[in-house]
Symmetry: C2
Subunit: 236 residues, 2 copies
DNA sequence: CGGGATCCCAAGCGATACTG
DNA sequence: CAGTATCGCTTGGGATCCCG
């Protein structure tokens, strides 16, 4: 029969439709990077070092066809999310949270980009906790990535401040008091401990050191229920 | 160098790690079905008609290795989620919501299973709205799927009541008043309209018909911001 | 008969080279 | 810089076959 479409799931339902559109390899990583703002072809390729260029090209075409991204007319090779694509933010944040809860270490050679760190912070951000604090800026260095996270009034704005950061077009939140600034550094391997609530691996570089506790309560992942010390695991 | 693992993303971060573990084709559909409860190999295959049996077998092994699922020792061919796997519920629900917001129609031959309908209802469920209503049971028929959704005190419990439904082991929420029961039917093609807030395609079969409004406010997807009539779309 | 394992072929993916 | 073209390898799809 010719009626059977190839590579469909033969399923009706939201998950099946979503996975058909953004479930291909690399697609959600591209969306993740674009959630931080418009990017050019070379930016995406630099942030995804192991993606073959033809695959990046294919994915960009597919995501355009699915209405998830569009080209930026004024920038050569520029891409940005559509409203539909921005609607994937809850999906990406949920994946980010689960990914930190899942066991696993970094393979050597893995890169840690500013866009990845930005999504991590947004996934760990607790708006309700942050709203009780005065405006604060955190300058965070982890691996190769350096970002500025400005927290004000329960809102969060993360910006790449690394050596080859793009100029940010949109206005940023402003820090009320310039004294509430904390600059620190953390090893990538310690990030999961830090986001689990343990601020000890954090090395303060500058700023008022009391703010480390504020950071720890503003950015934190909850452990998954039932994932205590009595680890459940079936033997292989 | 032999240190580079094949098929890794070369990325450190939550999204990359999550996609490495549950991003393979079919994996999240399997997780979706297991979110409704333990299933046997043949149940999964029946709910995923187009999955090749070797792929189902591969995915089950991979998901076991990733700590997402485990075998049920007492049931031949039985599988269930681990605590880590249950942690994927927010991911699956976010995908379900986005999938309904994304354009697309059912291909003919697509099946609509009770597990898919169950996730749809859980994704559309508004606990805060439901808490204000007295306990209610909705008997919903959509396509081949028939489920009973019991709503009580802001909690939701969905159960397959179709012809070949599995016996449910765990206790269910009980409906306070047996009068608050509504049985109805909806065409699969009308489901997106129904979950968008339009209860008109709903055909009441039995029960107090005032409850249709209650259903409509208890189960609803919000439209994506910026997805109004002025559709943004780039030409191909 | 349910629960898989084994084939073969097609499609997708990855690395490199090349072009506008 | 922003892709396209090509090639070999890996994975998925479909049918069949095996095992308890």
């Amino acid at each position: 029969m010719a009626t059977r479409s190839p590579r469909g799931f033969g399923q009706y339902g939201g998950v099946a439709r979503a996975v058909e559109r953004v479930g291909e390899r690399w697609a959600l990583l591209i969306v993740r990077d674009l959630l931080a703002g418009a990017r050019r072809y070379s930016d995406l390729k630099a942030g995804l070092p192991r993606i073959p260029t033809n695959i990046l090209s294919d994915r960009l075409k597919e995501l355009q066809l699915a209405g998830v991204i569009r080209r930026v007319p004024t920038v050569r090779g520029g891409y940005e999310l559509t409203a539909l694509g921005r609607g994937l933010e809850p999906v990406v944040l949920a994946l980010e949270r689960w990914g930190w809860a899942a066991p696993g270490d970094a393979a050597d050679g893995d890169v840690f980009t500013a866009d990845a760190l930005g999504i991590t912070l947004r996934a760990a951000f607790r708006s309700d906790v942050a709203a009780a604090f005065p405006p604060t800026e955190y300058l965070l260095h982890a691996g190769e990535a350096s970002v500025s996270a400005v927290v004000a009034g329960g809102a969060l704005d993360v910006m790449d401040v690394g050596p080859d950061a793009l100029p940010q077009p949109q206005g940023r939140l402003s820090v009320g008091s310039t004294e509430d600034v904390l600059e620190f550094q953390v090893a990538v391997a310690d990030l999961d401990r830090l986001l689990g609530g343990d601020v000890s691996p954090l090395e303060v570089l500058a700023g008022r050191s009391e703010l480390v506790e504020r950071f720890g309560s503003t950015f934190r992942f909850d452990p998954l229920p039932g994932m205590g010390v009595d680890a459940e695991r079936s033997a292989a």
